[in-house]
Amino acid sequence: MSDTLLEIENLETHYGKIHALRSISFSVREGQIVTLLGANGAGKSTTLKAISGLIRSTSGSIRYLGEDITRKPAHEIVQMGLIHVPEGRKIFKGMTITENLELGSFTLDDDAERKRRMDHVFDIFPVLHERKSRDSAFLSGGEQQMLAIGRSMMTNPKLLLLDEPSMGLAPFLVQQIMKIVLRLNKEGVTILLVEQNAKVALKLADHGYVLETGKIVIRGSARTLQQDESIVKAYLGEQ
């Protein structure tokens, strides 16, 4: 068995009076693709934000690479190779594609390495290369998602948190993005994938967790989750 990369224990978060996460525990092993599923408002994005340090959790612990990162500021967590591609992509509109990618490698001092990583991103996403000097605001939804993933690759991630990369995309684009997620995983990146599109996510994943109103209600291997008709119907919707 491979090593545990990320270990979440009894994690709780609040937004004001709203209790967003209720004692969540799960782990991600190195090399895996793990998916968090659930309806809107179940707490999937909140979980990712708590891990990457964008929001502070009220109690519980987050361990990454054996270190407690629960109280670490977001920009320091990035330096440990844990990268979060947020919901809605959050690309820097008004800046060019190249500039977006350069900012992805902000923590890097080595210009030659920056160029090498950028070439790698352009190799995976040729469409970004074609438009590299254009304002990213003019990209389509799928291209923006590619840029967001490409930008995260500039940081040379060990663990990638992907928040709904399929959101708002046409089915063939969803397939394309999922292929890329698989390719990154083959290249050695561990992936924690948040999805509403359960069918697509379970196809890639090794393990899945289903969240409902801030609690993990089902956990299991992707295969078991996929085969259990009642689970798919009750929690994942028919898609």
């Binding site: 920009h75 990035v78 992805g104 902000f106």
Partner: protein, 304 residues
């Protein structure tokens, strides 16, 4: 004087005035761009820059004189000192207010402004100080118009500062991070950018540009006063809005444009120099009515 001479003279005056406005407007617009704060103390930092420059020049002049070498040295030192002071103000007065309602931080900025000009007033007994330099009055004649080397060098220096800023913001990673923070702070955190550090850097750069303008104004007008930052603060704010607040090229353009409009405005029959301020704030009002986003400003899309 022929009409051409008058126009040329006003062009020269307008460029000088405009480059002061532009340098001060840059700080306004950069700070607004990243934390949506209208730093009303910014004009007073320009004033403080000229006073700090004055003190440094008085100390240095026995050794290097108070010609260009002395002015340049005191300008650089004053830019660093006042720039760091700007960061200190940000840490003490603004950071604790960032999570408070928008109005609270605005009032804090007004308070900082009052502390600064009252402080300098107390130190100087409210007197004008002579900003002594030996720059001479040589220059070039264009027809009947005489433009001194000092005027040309001051305009040249502000243009150089603006070019350096532009290159910094567009060509370096730190500059790009500054622009990115104006777009999305959370996304910046996820890139490993220490947002607080970049905000401090922005205050440093904005404040030091205002300090540079303060020393140039001292050099140009020959005297400085604790209240000199008030009107230029308002004018620079106007310039930033004209160019489109939050936009760096907009602040440069807005500053130069406002300076030129003011100079030429004084030549319109029945509108003398005493109407100068009415003229520029009139332009501001017209602009706010017809193009509230400014010349280079973008319409802000409210995010959900």
């Amino acid at each position: 004087m022929s009409i051409q001479d008058i126009l040329l003279q006003q062009l020269a005056n307008g460029l000088i005035l405009g480059s002061f406005y532009a340098l001060v407007a840059l700080g306004y617009t950069m700070v607004y761009g990243i934390i949506k704060l209208l730093n009303f103390a910014h004009g007073d930092l320009y004033m403080l820059g000229s006073f700090v420059g004055f003190v440094i020049l008085s100390i240095l002049s026995p050794y290097i004189g108070n010609s260009w070498a002395g002015i340049l040295c005191s300008m650089v030192l004053s830019m660093i000192a006042v720039g760091l002071f700007g960061v200190l103000i940000q840490r003490i007065a603004y950071v604790p207010m960032l999570s408070a309602p928008r109005l609270s931080i605005l009032i804090t900025a007004l308070a900082v402004s009052m502390v600064l000009y009252n402080g300098v007033m107390a130190f100087t007994d409210g007197q004008y100080l002579a900003f002594k330099t030996d720059l001479g009055f040589e220059g070039l004649e264009f027809g009947n118009v005489f433009i001194t080397y000092t005027q040309m060098i001051l305009v040249g220096a502000s243009i150089i500062l603006m070019i350096v800023l532009y290159l910094f913001v567009h060509k370096t990673l730190y500059g790009k991070a500054m622009r990115a923070i104006a777009i999305d702070q959370d996304a910046c955190r996820l890139m490993g950018i220490n947002v607080n550090k970049i905000i401090a850097l922005t205050f440093f750069i904005g404040t030091s540009l205002a300090a540079a303008a303060g020393i140039m104004a001292g050099t140009y007008y020959g005297s400085i006063h604790f209240f000199m930052g008030f009107v230029i603060g308002l004018k620079a704010f106007t310039a930033a809005v004209i160019g489109g607040i939050g936009s760096i090229p907009g602040a440069m353009l807005g500053g130069l444009l406002l300076g030129l409009l003011e100079s030429f405005g004084t030549q319109i029959p029945f509108i003398g120099t005493e109407w100068k301020d009415v003229f520029s704030f009139g332009i501001l009002i017209l602009l706010l009515v017809f193009k509230p986003t400014g010349i280079l400003g973008k319409t802000e899309i409210e995010r959900m």
